[in-house]
């Protein structure tokens, strides 16, 4: 009796996450995959299923794989994601060091300060950047009133504005894993190095940095993966030429109403991100 009950109950804790994964990951993925082989049509929804008389439609994948326009979109996304991740590491490393070395009483408030922007909506924060960077925005107004420039600088809709917005949005993703790896290290190691005559720079280079490397790699990937599919920030802050894959996907879906091509792009983006995701998992497993 007891054994039977246990046999029923034991898989239950696993059932919840399994159901979650099935409903919110596997099923949508399957829909996207089916859509990628559907035919565009003038109907509601604007597609004909892939199991009609014509069979599955292989054109979307062929188009995306052959057309250099899409290659450029993927390449741009990879460059922007890598640039964003590098920027976040550069900015996040000193922040994480400061956090890890702060007195324990200070750590929590400082951590909160890192996370605080997450409590405000994403769009209002981008709106704030637009307000700052516009031709008639604060930055230009201040520079003009100081007499440093006469004509406003075209700050908005530029690559620097795009990277600024990306770094701002993704910085916490870099700070937290860096902080986790830096706070776990034993301060005695650095003290030992210093006692043995190493300069502070030598301590940092030969002890702190190598110890933080796995955390840094995790931080890089944790920023890179979501940043590669980003489309809101390029749309709102970036130049018209920033046609990253996320933005191109949006255009295929909304402007061209070509759901199959949009779905094919989504599938290929996911496949392209599998490598960094697997890399990240291996890193995490080793820690």
């Amino acid at each position: 009796m007891h054994a039977a009950l246990r046999a029923i109950l034991r898989p239950l804790p696993l059932a919840v996450p399994s159901l979650w994964l099935a409903l919110l990951v596997a099923a949508p993925l399957l829909v996207v995959l089916v859509l990628a082989f559907a035919w565009p049509a003038e109907s509601v929804p604007p597609i004909a299923p892939p199991w009609g008389a014509e069979g599955p439609n292989t054109e979307p994948f062929a188009l995306v794989l052959e057309d250099s326009f899409y290659h450029a979109a993927f390449a741009q996304a990879a460059l922007v994601a890598a640039g964003t991740a590098a920027l976040c590491l550069l900015l996040g490393f000193p922040m994480a060091m400061g956090l890890a070395r702060a007195r324990p009483a200070w750590r929590l408030p400082l951590l909160m300060a890192v996370l605080l922007p997450f409590w405000t909506g994403f769009l209002p924060r981008l709106g704030a950047w637009i307000g700052l960077l516009r031709d008639e925005g604060w930055v230009n107004t201040v520079l003009q009133s100081l007499g440093l420039i006469t004509d406003p600088l075209p700050l908005l809709y530029s690559w620097p504005a795009l990277f600024l917005g990306m770094a701002h949005a993704y910085l916490p993703f870099a700070v937290l894993p860096l902080y986790a790896s830096l706070s776990r290290r034993d301060p005695a190691m650095e003290e030992a190095a210093a006692d043995l005559g190493a300069t502070p720079w030598a301590v940092f280079r030969t002890v702190t940095l190598p110890l933080a490397a796995p955390g840094a790699a995790a931080a890089f990937l944790l920023v890179f993966i979501p940043a590669a599919g980003e489309y809101v920030i390029p749309e709102l802050l970036g130049p018209p030429g920033a046609q990253l894959v996320g933005r191109v996907l949006w255009q295929e879906f909304f402007q061209n109403r070509d759901w199959p091509v949009a779905a094919a792009l989504a599938v290929l983006l996911l496949l392209a991100l599998l490598l960094p995701i697997l890399l990240f998992q291996r890193l995490e497993a080793r820690r």
């Binding site: 829909v31 089916v34 565009p40 003038e42 109907s43 509601v44 929804p45 604007p46 299923p49 199991w51 009609g52 326009f69 450029a72 516009r134 031709d135 008639e136 004509d151 075209p154 809709y157 018209p240 030429g241 046609q243 191109v248 255009q251 879906f253 909304f254 402007q255 061209n256 109403r257 070509d258």
Partner: protein, 370 residues
Amino acid sequence: MLRRRIATAAFAALLGLSAAMPARAQQPETVLNVYNWSDYIDPYAVAQFQQETGIRIRYDVYDSLETLEGKLSAGRSGYDIIVPTSEPTFSRLARAGALKPLDRALIPNWGKQDATLLRQVESSDPGNRFGAIYLYGTVGLGIRADRVRELFPDAPTDSLDLLMKPENARRLARCGIAVMDSATDVLPSILQWLGRDPNSTEPRDLRAAEDALTAIRPHVRAITASGNILDALANGEYCVALTYSGDVIQAQARAREAKRGVEIGYVAPKEGAQLWFDMLAIPADAPHPEAAHRFIDFLLQPAVMAGITNHVRYPNAVPEARPMVNPAVRDDPDVYPTPEMLKRTFTTAPLTPAAERARSRSWSRFKAGR
């Protein structure tokens, strides 16, 4: 056949769309879900309709046709009234079966509409079966007159030459050039400026338009939704913007109110301007079609239409409304095109999906600047 139907139904269900709901018992409709462009109605008209009919309006807005069409394409949007532009969205929704044919018996004011304008809409909707004209306008240039005079005193401000000749664009780039992000509302004007058929789908015509746009691409600061251009134009951020007439007129009014010396004018290019219509339409699966017909009939009353035009500064298609429109708006040829100006306008026709893809691809290349 049946198997295919079942498969299609399963496919629809897979997409999260439920099958047709059981018809509800006939009862007076008390709610109307309206989905309109942002800043595009006289709030008083909404209040008046609610008071007269007892029907409560749930009002929702969009700022691009893509948003509207995205929602409608998924099906079961829940809206009763939508206001798509004649091309491409209205005609495409009609062809896709997403719109309900209007029952003119329920719209006694149907005949108040200008017959000539209705005929022009027929290129998108033969027989005017699916839509009544809400407001209309042209595509042209919003010009920040004070800055352009200063930078470029002898600028050809009545022509698309101002934007499309690279030497002119270069002179104006410093104070900002914007183009609305819409292949269907920009490419026809460029073709017209080139002296070609604005509805051409010939690859060499499209190529010529793309080359002309690419030549000015380095000087274009923003290619963005028309709503964004309206705001930035009112703030004085651009010198020249290719966008909808009414948006420029609204920006002009806002700039005047702000009293910061920003002076904005609108020009329908002398080469010929694209004429477009925003149509009142009812989605095929609208939950309250009867109330929707009442709303269309209500809006077509001359006094109501005059109030809307006074508020949003787009012309309407109800001739009897004209005497009631504020003279400053009525006599402004930028708002109400004169008959001679109307003669120089053109309407666009539906495109085949292949032609549309070619256009949007060409547009993407222009945006990317490659």
